[in-house]
Every structure is written in structure tokens, then in C-alpha cells.
Subunit: 319 residues, 2 copies
């Protein structure tokens, strides 16, 4: 095998069901060899790595590697390390993943707005009582991160009648969404936001951003009686001790978290037992492996036929 | 006062906060007399009744009544009785009410699809575990009742990626929604439906319709592992004993109910304690009284200026 013809796939994804993944990839491309790390009988044959948090140094052991595919939407598990060969890193982006993230964000917004946890408690108590809820038009949602995921969630939430605005680090407006830009406009964005939805990538700027100083800048005079934090971006963006303190002091009145500083979330975390906080185990954009495996194989075949790789990441920007 | 000039409003709504309603109406039209039944010092002055389940015979005691406004979206509390004067009955329809119903239906669909009750249980148990969920594109939603509410819910659910179809008693298709018609196409509609959403009015045909024979006709081979019932129409359309039996036998795998045969739901109902069933106390389309009161007063003023009443009901059809 020469470097340009290495065509085998290696899968390395700590804590994932890698056998199921290899079966999906084999189903999508029966002719191509697929190895599951660390069991790789022919390292020189490997042209493509499908990874989630690969062990340090592992990817450098494949001399003919041509591209790395991140199996999750986040890529910070790859960009902040110096042990990777200098080949393109491709982020998995498919409509299914976007759709699932929008479902999760919409579900969480509606649960807080329509007081589902309070109705659940009333159901357990066999209690029949109406609870007042504001109109969607009186609730201001602010989305941090206006990539593919943020824009899709904004469109659905706008259709449901909410006042939706967005914040992004860089320039560029998004049709139909009042867009705030950069550090200079962050406080104005936070000050008009009742429900903050973070879909931010993890970068040097976003690490630890979702903390008490930011929560204090959110709108505290809104129709919900206080602000709500929803984070489905990256756990490294949030300071969980501050979230707990903000909920205790009613600086926040609720939260929905799909990502955590350490995953799995420690069983001792005080977040688990809070009625005002909805936790899910990093499944907001959980995707069936079948279409993802097919999308990756399709891209590999196009690449081998001469097309450029799409959705490659910018290592300098970090996303 | 002559019959055509009677302009006072009487409010009668058993179990509602009628003083809050009268304050809203007075705020919307400060010049107009507003009475709260049974305290009506001048019965001849009453031209308009704003009612929910008015006492038998009461409306006939206003000799100059010109129109009856139903304060809830359902009108079966009015059409199935013979003690009403022969004046138009107007149904309250406003965008806020439609939007709130769509919120509730969307929330319930997402809770079943995204297994929120299972994640809630895992949170209480401090358990971190991913649960598989199908793609929205693999879930077939069927909406019974394609009035204003049904069409709006269908539009949002389609945007979220679900396969949405609708069923209606009469003719007429709805843009973008595969529409089934009448008795002849009911079985075909049910047979392709994983999540059944009922927004039906209560009529002779719909009373007791949501029962075991219908549940057995739903799709049992779908991506959710079985069918789900969501009812925000009228409680009289459902047979709660059959819903419990269907959940026990897994003929249904889940339910969301906002309406009940008797309201409030009896504290002894076995539905309260079911993890697979989400109960809310007839609040799906709960609306702030302020915009509703304004909409009614606006319609009264237009009527007095010579415009026809809108959203009047057909007593023969029952809705």
C-alpha cells in the first residue's frame, strides 16, 4: 500500500459501543477493511480514523493516515492536543444531528416555559391545579453560537412565537434573528435574555464563560420571573458550582444541562437532585450510528474520487 | 332599553376567577356595564353573556341577550342543551390560544419521542445512561381534527421533521399535510400512526371514540415500539378505563392527557401514578384573560357597528 491508497478505517471511541459502529460502517461499505482500536493488525493500511477522544499518541501510529473524522459534533477533544498527524480533521455534520439538537433545545425551552416539572410534581401528588404561564411572545430567548445548530433552533423557536436573538463571536447577521456580535455587544444581549441557550464550541474564550458574572447580567425582570440556562454546547463552558449557587440564590430559576465539566457527571453532584434542573447524559444530539456511518463513508468515497473534504475544522480557531 | 341596544355584559363561569375576568373586560371597555352572575341588578340591560358551563336556565333570564361567547375553546358545554335563547354562540379563537395549544402538543410529542420521563427517572436515580431514540423522520404523527389548532400543530411538527398526517370528518385537504377523510379512511389513517394527537370537538360521533378498538388499529410496528395517545381535545372523546387497559397491555406505550371524562380528574384515577402517562389539568391552551377579553370586546364593538359575528358555531354540527 502507498500513502495515497491506504483505505482501511480504524475506529477508536472510548466508552462508545465501537463494535456497533464497526458493523454500521461495514454495512455502509462492505468492501473496505474496518478495524476497532486497539486491535489493528495492519497499521499501514489505515487511511481514515473515526474517533472520539482517541488515546494520546495513537493516531500517530498510522503512517498513511489521510483524514480524521470526529464522531461527535464537538471537536475540542481533538483540537487542543499536539499528538495528531497533520491531516484534516472532519466534523460530523448531518441534518439528523441538527434536527435532534433542535428537538432537545425546543423540548427544554417548552419544559421551563410550560412548567412541566411543576405539573409532574402535581401529578405525583394527584393534584389538579392550573399554573399561570406567560405567552411565548413575552419570553426572550438568547442563543449563544449561531452555527448550523443555533440557526436551526432559532428558526423553530421563532415559529413558536418566542422573541429570539442570537450572539456570535464574529461578524455576520442571521436572517430573521436579531444578532449581537462579539464582546462589545455581549452585555446588551444578556440583558434582554430570559432563556439563555448555549450551543458554543469549547475554545479559550468560552471556557468557564457560563458562570456567576454572566448569570447576573441576564434579564431578571422577565415574564418567567427570572432567567433560565440551557446548555447543550460543551461542559467546559460552564462552572457547575456557580450554576448551583445561582439556582440557590434565584439568580437563575431553572436550568437544562446536557453537557458537564466532567462526564459522566459525578453521582455526588448536587445538580442531580434539583427539581429546577433537567439533566440529560450528553444525548441532545444523540444520533443513530447508521446514517452517520453512511455519511462518513460517502464522504470518504467522494474524497477518494478527488472531491475535497467538507466540514473540516480550523485548528487555529478551535472549531 | 330596547332589544337592539342592550349592551351590558354578564360573566358566568363556574369554577373560574370571574372577578379577574370582569376586571379584564372593564379594562378593555371602561364605558360598558359588566355584571358577574348571579349578581345582575339589571337583567334587561344584558346584551352579551361570556360563559363557561352556565347554570341551567340562567341565560334565558336575560330578555335582550344578543350573543353568547364561550370562554373556552370547546363549546360542547353549550350546544348539547335546550335551555339557551336562540342567539348566536361565538367560540373564542385567538392566535394566543392556538399558539399555546401548539406549544403543549409539541412538548408532549417531544417528551415521548425523546424519552423525557425515562431521563427524569434516571436523574432521580443519579444514573448516567444514553437511551436510543428514533429520528423524527421515522415517527408518524396523526392529528385528528384539522381546524385552526390542528393545522398549526401539524405545521410545527412537520418543521421538526416528523411524518405528519391528519384526519377530518369532512372534505377538504390541508396544504402540506396528508389528509384522510371520514369514516372510510379512518382505519388507514390509524394504521400509519405512531403518535395520535386528538384535537377533536365533542360531538355524537366523537364521544367515546378514543377507546380500545381504535387503539388496536394504531401502528404497532413503528420506530417508538408502539403507539402513543395525546388528547387535548375533549375528555368526553376518551374512555379512560380503556386507556389504562391499553397501557397495561402495551397496546399503547404512552399517553399525554389534558382533558378527562370528569374534571377535575378523580384523585383515585389510576392514571395519576403512571410513569408512561403525562397529565395536565386542562391547561394545554390556557390563556391569559387579558388578550381574550380584548378580543371579545373588539368583536362586540364591531358587531354593534354592523359587522357580522365571526367564529359562530353551528348548533346542528355541534362545533
Amino acid at each position: 500500500l502507498t500513502q495515497t491508497s491506504a483505505s482501511a478505517i480504524v475506529i477508536s471511541a472510548e466508552g462508545w459501543d465501537t463494535e456497533a459502529w464497526s458493523a454500521r460502517v461495514r454495512a455502509a461499505d462492505p468492501q473496505r477493511p474496518v478495524f476497532v482500536a486497539p486491535d489493528v493488525p495492519d497499521r499501514a493500511a489505515v487511511g481514515y480514523a473515526l474517533v472520539w477522544k482517541p488515546p494520546a499518541g495513537m493516531l500517530a501510529t498510522f503512517p498513511n493516515l489521510r483524514a480524521i473524522f470526529s464522531l461527535g459534533a464537538g471537536v475540542d477533544h481533538l483540537v487542543f492536543r499536539d499528538d495528531l498527524p497533520a491531516v484534516p480533521i472532519v466534523r460530523v455534520v448531518n441534518p439528523d444531528l441538527t434536527q435532534r439538537m433542535t428537538e432537545w433545545v425546543t423540548l427544554q425551552v417548552l419544559m421551563h416555559h410550560r412548567r412541566q416539572r411543576a405539573y409532574d410534581a402535581q401529578q405525583r401528588a394527584r393534584r389538579w391545579r392550573e399554573l399561570e404561564t406567560p405567552a411565548a411572545a413575552d419570553i426572550r430567548i438568547g442563543i449563544m453560537g449561531l452555527g448550523v445548530l443555533g440557526r436551526d433552533a432559532a428558526a423553530v423557536l421563532s415559529r413558536l412565537g418566542y422573541q429570539v436573538a442570537g450572539w456570535r463571536r464574529g461578524q455576520g447577521d442571521v436572517a430573521g434573528v436579531r444578532t449581537y456580535h462579539g464582546e462589545a455587544e455581549l452585555d446588551a444581549f444578556l440583558g434582554r435574555t430570559d432563556i439563555l441557550v448555549s450551543l458554543l464550541p469549547l475554545t479559550a474564550e468560552t471556557r468557564g464563560l457560563l458562570a456567576m458574572p454572566l448569570f447576573e447580567k441576564l434579564a431578571h425582570d422577565g415574564a418567567l420571573g427570572g432567567p433560565v440556562l440551557i446548555n447543550a454546547g460543551r461542559g467546559g463552558s460552564q462552572v457547575e458550582a456557580d450554576i448551583v449557587a445561582a439556582l440557590e440564590s434565584r439568580t437563575l430559576i431553572g436550568a437544562s444541562l446536557d453537557v458537564f465539566e466532567q462526564e459522566p457527571l459525578d453521582a455526588a453532584s448536587p445538580l442531580w437532585s434539583r427539581e429546577d434542573t433537567i439533566l440529560t447524559p450528553h444525548v441532545a444530539a444523540w444520533s443513530d450510528p447508521a446514517p452517520l456511518a453512511e455519511a462518513i463513508v460517502t464522504q470518504i468515497k467522494a474524497f477518494e474520487a478527488g472531491a475535497p473534504l467538507t466540514n473540516t475544522i480550523d485548528r487555529a480557531a478551535g472549531y
